[in-house]
Homo-oligomer: 329 residues x 2
């Protein structure tokens, strides 16, 4: 019988059907083992795989401690890809100086795609791996084939898409992303400034800016007709922000608990989803005061299948980052 | 001019109106200072203020290390107040034995209201205070008038109520709670068992039960008509679970970071909301493996106003827990 490896609960429950209807035997590979094996293989072998976003004017890209060992910076200004201004809902609209003299850039400038080098050296570990599919899993990775699911969230891609389908008539994820790019979330979310006014002493004491979100969808609490004046674009954007910020926060809190400066975000939710990638880059930098970095991978979404194949072929990842056939040294 | 203290951004922005229209001068008290002062006063002086929920059959109430100093147990079985069975979506439907021999109870038995004694001793600090209004603030409290806002979430009461108003025609929060009690969230949420099947080897390896939520609202992803077969009750319950679990997780991760076994949950979101109180009790116990406890207060929702009054009257909280007039020793 022809054999083929497969991973993921959605595939594994059809093993009998494969065998009975297609005469293909399924070699079931563990979902998270496959994901990590595939991701590590690509990270170790594909140049230009890994990237993050930084502010447009930021000059500090090269001297970040977490990348100084192997900085390989290849900036691509993505500004032209964003035709509409992106609302800043985590920091103030206006860039400002911190008390230590460093400049704080707001989200709408967080547009510069920056390449990060591959990781193949032992000092790269541990790192957090956040996989965002229908739900969210948070893994701590300590080395090749050494990983553990430490946390997760039920608020993931399925939450975004499930609620989008109830609230709008959009028919696919790509269209939802196009809608979200044009939306104004401040028509849906209650901003800190909506509660305190724009220039309040209380804000200074709280250390909060007027234009950060206080409550996702909170502006609809006191409107007479909650839907009035809202477009599908606004709802899409607010929903995307809710899910993205929440995943970022769960990832950040776990990274802080495990003391890991790198957080890799992968999974189908991030495909064609520049808004979430930029927001996660910004939010992780903002919350960690520049001590952590959100990282993304060009081939996200395919690591599970690749890893299942590699594991079935007995291809092992050596500690120095090179792969080889286990049975053919 | 008559003077009156007030707290909260929503009140403070009307200070001019008070003065011009009502000839009342507003003494603005800080929101979080007021909350903590009011809460500590009530905790130190009102017997029977503090409670949590435990499983119906649990006999371990008295020997919890966090309450052994001053256990004052007064159980009230709330089972009769819940006419419909509450779905277990964090653990399996069936109670089971852990490998260490202790019994794990499922959420549907988590119905016994248990009194916790007042805290007035120094070993009570630090603790986490989670205030759930429109948004969520997470404070670390280190002593009387010593507290810091360390985290928060935009997913709070405003998110629940804003989305409820878009998805249902319910007109007030109390009715929403009544709806939620009758809802079946498994018609809305994607369960782990929906992905892996009910009795999969993969589940055992993942350490997940078939009937925990994998993705909030995730079951609507693949349905042809996402709303078909859903009642307002189901939507209310799924939305309440999403918001409650998420707040619980953010609180738990922060408590773990700050190494505090006690988490107090207060705020208007919890009023008439036994589902969230029971779920938070269960979830914090479950995630922390019994090392942390979610605590609630009978007078939640009024601590800010009380604290603003106390602070304006110069009533100070002494370290031993007794209050006195600052100017009248």
């Amino acid at each position: 019988m022809f054999l083929c490896s497969a991973t993921g609960g959605g595939a594994h429950k059809f093993a009998d059907v494969w065998e009975q209807e297609l005469a293909i035997g399924m070699i079931k590979q563990d979902e998270l083992d496959s994901l990590v094996a595939g991701m590590q293989f690509v990270l170790s072998t594909v140049v230009g795989e890994c990237f993050t976003f930084r502010p447009k004017e930021d000059t500090k890209t090269d001297d970040r401690s977490m990348s100084e060992e192997n900085a390989n910076v290849n900036d691509t200004d993505m500004q032209q890809n964003f035709s509409c201004p992106i609302q800043s809902t985590l920091d103030s609209e206006t860039d400002h100086e911190e008390s230590n003299g460093s400049k704080v850039y707001t989200l709408d400038r967080w547009t510069r795609k920056v390449q990060r080098d591959t990781i193949s050296y032992s000092s790269a570990y541990p790192y957090m791996l956040v996989t965002i599919g229908t739900g969210v899993s948070v893994l701590r990775v300590d080395g090749p084939r050494k990983h553990e699911r430490v946390s997760g969230s039920t608020v993931g891609g399925g939450t975004f898409w499930g609620l989008m389908r109830l609230l709008t008539d959009v028919e696919n994820f790509e269209d939802a992303m196009k809608l979200a790019e044009k939306g104004d979330p401040t028509k849906v979310d209650m901003m800190v400034g909506d509660i305190y006014g724009k220039n309040s002493d209380a804000l200074e004491k709280l250390g909060l800016a007027a234009d950060i979100v206080a409550s996702s969808f909170g502006k609809l609490v006191s409107k007479e007709d909650p839907a009035r004046g809202l477009t599908q674009e606004d709802l899409a954007r607010a929903l995307l922000s809710l899910v993205t910020n929440n995943i970022g926060q769960v990832a950040y809190l776990n990274a802080k608990l495990h003391k890991t400066p790198r957080i890799y975000f992968v999974g189908s939710f991030l495909r064609h989803n520049m808004i979430s990638q930029r927001r996660l880059s910004y939010a992780i930098d903002y919350w960690s005061k520049g001590e952590m970095e959100a990282l993304f991978l060009e081939h996200e979404g395919y690591f599970g299948a690749l890893g299942a194949f590699l594991m079935t072929q007995n291809i092992e990842n050596k500690a120095d980052g090179f792969f080889q056939w286990k049975d053919h040294p």
